[in-house]
Symmetry: C2
Subunit: 190 residues, 2 copies
């Protein structure tokens, strides 16, 4: 198979807020032990995304399962990028695979501020992550007008059959905070 | 919401094979009347992707429903881009939204050489397309070793509830041709 370097034409570079690059750098040496610490970090990033007005109230991050360290983060940039698929989890996958230089995130966990939608759920096994952990329920997202899509009632069983551990919802009402802030700021629902 | 131009950092530009740019240009004025003509074009692109060794045996395209003209095409570039989510449909969405300068593909149809996997299925409603038409069955893809993922048994009903027309599988055994060629060339399964 030809290498990407052979391709002269590039489509669709994805914008990433500069504050998020700063957050990644500042948290590069931090140890995020346990599921709750990882998910809490993504909930904080989702709050920051709303505060900075750089996208929707969703964030995700990829952590190394062995070291508990951050590899890459992503936030929802659907509106500013004018790309319907630019959800936090997709950006986190893209960004982590870009950083690691490989398409498989073996040995990694995806943490998300919210239960992944149908698209991000479907993308998770392809990413190679070994675990999925998340904060808010899909119902919380839908209660403020977001759409989770149809992913089938047996999605947790489907992950289990692939050997992907799932933990969530986590953090209880704390995970609702980004949605509350977004609603308060009259954010655009898409 | 801040515009993308305010963002100093870009993540993950996606490679697009140069032969595909040529195909797009050469077919810019062609009228693709009916579902079969549109899907047949994507099956031909999937064949080309295998012949050029620029990715897996999958292609997709976005057409204008009113004029039956091509807006943008995409092929699977998972291996060369080292991005697990770089399926044909995702690239077609990204490329079309990039070209049109808007995140919604209202008035458009997604044509795919194969039934979309769980991720691309979930991405379809978010893209704004009004119709989904496809060639090969998911079973055909799985018969040569690809994985379609879990998208729930009621996915066609879920599209119908959203008012998205679905037509497929189409073209019968003709839609299997890209997989046959890929297998013959001992393509990498991922």
């Amino acid at each position: 198979m030809k290498e990407a370097a052979d391709y002269p034409f590039l489509v669709n570079p994805i914008p990433m807020p500069s504050w998020l690059v700063t957050e990644e750098n500042e948290n590069a040496d931090r140890v995020f032990a346990g599921d709750e610490a990882k998910v809490r970090f993504t909930v904080e990033l989702a709050m920051e995304n709303v505060r900075h007005e750089t996208g929707g109230p969703f964030a995700a991050a990829i952590f190394d399962l062995r070291t508990d360290r951050l590899i890459a983060a992503g936030v929802n940039v659907v509106v500013p990028s004018k790309q319907s698929w630019a959800h936090a989890e997709m950006i986190a996958f893209a960004h982590a695979q870009n950083k690691l230089g490989r398409g498989s995130l073996e040995g990694c966990v995806l943490a998300s501020s919210c239960e992944p939608c149908a698209m991000c759920n479907g993308a998770t096994p392809w990413s190679g992550v070994e675990e999925l952990i998340y904060g808010a329920t899909g119902d919380m997202a839908e209660s403020v007008g977001f759409d989770e899509g149809y992913k089938g009632a047996q999605w947790k069983e489907a992950f289990a059959r692939r050997g992907i551990r799932v933990a969530g919802p986590l953090l209880g009402e704390d995970a609702f905070a980004p949605f509350a802030l977004y609603r308060q700021k009259n954010g655009k629902i898409y």
